[in-house]
């Protein structure tokens, strides 16, 4: 059935808004539309992109109902605790990076398994289960770090921060590879198709013989894995573990993932949408700074723009249904 013109216009409204905004930023700032700035934007988006991949996976497997569907708010906290463990091991305990990372992986695996048990085993609401888990993880992180910063000077971490691969920032190259791996797994394999089917309609998937509970469990494990991977980039970004970084990351992860959904034609959370959302959030920050927007207004303008886009997406979805 053909959509009315107004509906179609509303559908592309988010893209028009951001295209106009970025064009405006490009005109106002001589540096905004440049390759260097693009690299900076993507570099700064890296941790958000990775945790958003994890969240997108959980939403894809669990469905996009924010309360009853799939959501994992503990991914940033997982990244932060893994970063704290790695920093503590490297700096305070004198451990090697591989050992520290294995230890952090163990912590992430436990977190993922507990989340899966709470949601699938105890049938807790994912929102509440993972929010509670996030609070608990942040508490444990404070115990590990005593709420203090732990600096890291490990060569590999410094390379991820400053190094380049084929002339492109190493962190951006690594993240691109990770995005492609996630994309292949979720969109180009039978396993990925089954996971998407699970989130699309749990009942239909079960009738088709898909073990949906298994896929939901796996999605939480993958989310924890994303947190673990993100921790390395968090460490590189901050040259160590600084307390209190999980709150901003949580906000940006949720924003990026659901803002990404507003860009998708069907208004659903997708991997590419999450990646694009993270880059857009980062681009907004860089863009506003590049034209010298008053810092007291930046948050307000960013929030209003995002609200506008998400609201228009919501209106379009309702119009279709």
């Amino acid at each position: 059935m053909t959509q009315p013109m107004s509906q179609r216009l509303l559908g592309v409204f988010p893209i028009i808004v951001f295209a106009c905004l970025f064009a405006y930023l490009g005109v106002q700032s001589t540096t905004f539309l440049s390759l260097d700035t693009l690299e900076l934007i993507t570099k700064q988006a890296v941790p958000t992109v990775i945790v958003s991949l994890g969240l997108a996976t959980v939403v894809i497997a669990g469905g996009d109902d924010v309360v009853a569907g799939g959501i994992d708010l503990s991914i940033p906290a997982t990244a932060i605790i893994c970063a704290a463990i790695i920093a503590d091991q490297l700096t305070n305990q004198g451990a090697s990076l591989p050992f520290a990372m294995i230890l952090a992986f163990g912590a992430a695996a436990i977190i993922g398994a507990i989340n899966a048990f709470l949601v699938v085993g105890l049938r807790m609401t994912p929102l509440l289960a993972t929010l509670s888990m996030s609070v608990a993880i942040v508490g444990i992180t404070k115990v590990i770090t005593s709420s203090r910063r732990i600096g890291v000077t490990d060569e590999t971490i410094v390379f991820i921060r400053d190094g380049t691969i084929f002339g492109i920032a190493a962190s951006v190259v690594m993240t691109t590879v990770l995005v492609l791996v996630f994309y292949h797994a979720l969109h180009r394999t039978r396993w990925g198709m089954n996971m998407q089917a699970t989130g699309g309609s749990r009942d239909a998937a079960e009738i088709s013989g898909i073990l949906t509970r298994r896929f939901v469990v796996q999605s939480f494990l993958i989310a924890a894995f994303a947190g673990w991977i993100a921790s390395v980039f968090v460490l590189a970004r901050g040259s160590g573990s600084s307390p209190g970084t999980e709150e901003n990351m949580l906000l940006e992860m949720v924003l990026a993932t659901f803002l990404g959904a507003a860009f998708s034609p069907r208004r659903v959370v997708t991997l590419w949408g999450a990646v694009l959302g993270a880059v857009v959030v980062s681009a907004l920050s860089v863009g506003f700074i590049s034209i010298g927007v008053n810092v007291f207004w930046t948050g307000c303008i960013k929030g209003a723009l995002i609200l506008l886009v998400v609201a228009s997406a919501s209106v379009t979805t309702k119009g279709r249904s």
């Binding site: 900076l40 709420s147 203090r148 910063r149 600096g151 901050g238 040259s239 209190g244 709150e247």
Partner: protein, 324 residues
């Protein structure tokens, strides 16, 4: 009387300093673009230092590129990359932990001088800060006197190892207490949150009070700033404890108002002048471009605050208004 005289002397020297600075007619930032990076703008101190730097750059004819880390040290550090990509002529960086060091290195490597505020760095051209040495020793003496030279003291001290200014303030506070063998610092020390500090300190203080019943705890000191002290005072009121005194550092209007309340447990502070600190950093940028040689650090006077009357006097003298 003594504190009033000290206050007057400090303010007089400050006035002399600032007048001399602004009387430097040759200073200009005309045609210069200056990045001003602040770790956050939620707290009075951060906001005022930021405002002082921004307004002075603009008064001197410069263009400001402002960035706010939202009280997240990693975001604050990342913002320096954006300033680097913008090709600003100089950066004023206010606060921040070790995460900013590689950014300072990159900026100075690109020929962009970095002027820090409350953050000593080998890659900085100049650091403008309060007289942290005086702050640490003064609050040590004031606290020791307030509890009669003996007793158990808890300290919020999360940043002694992470920020040099905090290392100086807390380290010299402890140095003074070495001469008071009757004072015991409760171990382990408490670590406050950087963001949401008052609420975090309130909860931690309530826990502490449950462990140390009446008569076993004499004071709670906040080693580097005073936002946590707001939560400490709230917790003492909630618990109905009047046996514990509070001391801290920074002396913004919010904490001076608490100190000025009748019967307040918050008895001593050392007030800084964040607006003047930010403004001085901006003046130093102009001096640098005028070819003047700067010392590694510029110290801005502080104002010791003792008791309710001292808080009222400091509040008025620092231009925050009057407290009745």
């Amino acid at each position: 009387m003594k504190s009033t005289m000290t206050l007057a002397a400090a303010l007089a020297s400050t006035v002399c300093f600032s007048t001399a600075a602004f009387a430097d007619g040759h200073l200009s930032l005309d045609g210069k673009t200056i990045g001003v990076a602040v770790v956050g703008t939620q707290h009075f101190w951060d906001r005022e230092a930021f405002n002082g730097a921004v307004s002075t750059v603009e008064e001197l004819g410069g263009t400001v590129v402002p960035v706010d880390g939202g009280r997240d040290n990693q975001v604050h550090a990342d913002n320096h990359d954006i300033l680097l990509s913008q090709g600003v002529d100089a950066v004023i960086s206010i606060l921040g932990d070790g995460a900013v060091e590689p950014k300072f290195e990159a900026l100075s490597g690109a020929g962009i001088p970095v002027f820090t505020v409350d953050h000593q760095s080998p890659f900085g051209t100049n650091n403008t800060t309060s007289d942290n040495y005086y702050m640490g020793t003064t609050i040590g003496r004031y606290m020791a006197d307030a509890i009669g030279g003996e007793g158990n003291v808890a300290v919020f001290n999360a940043f002694e190892g992470a920020l040099r200014i905090c290392g100086i303030r807390a380290g010299l506070w402890k140095y003074v207490l070495e001469d008071y063998p009757g004072i015991t610092i409760i171990q382990p020390e408490l670590a406050e949150e950087f963001a949401n500090a008052p609420e975090d300190a309130r909860i931690k203080t309530l826990d502490l009070l449950s462990q140390y019943p009446e008569g076993t705890l004499d004071a709670i000191h906040v080693g580097c700033w005073d936002q946590p002290a707001i939560g400490v005072v709230q917790a003492l009121e909630e618990a109905g404890r009047t046996d514990v005194l509070v001391t801290a550092l920074d002396g913004g209007p919010d904490t001076l108002e608490i100190m000025a309340e009748e019967g307040s447990p918050f008895v001593a502070n050392v007030a800084q002048q964040p607006n003047l600190i930010g403004s001085t950093a901006a003046m130093n940028v102009a001096r640098h471009f005028a070819g003047e040689t700067l010392l590694p650090q510029t110290f801005v006077e502080v104002v010791p605050v003792l008791g309710q009357d001292g808080a009222k006097a400091a509040y008025e003298q620092l231009g925050y208004g009057t407290l009745d």
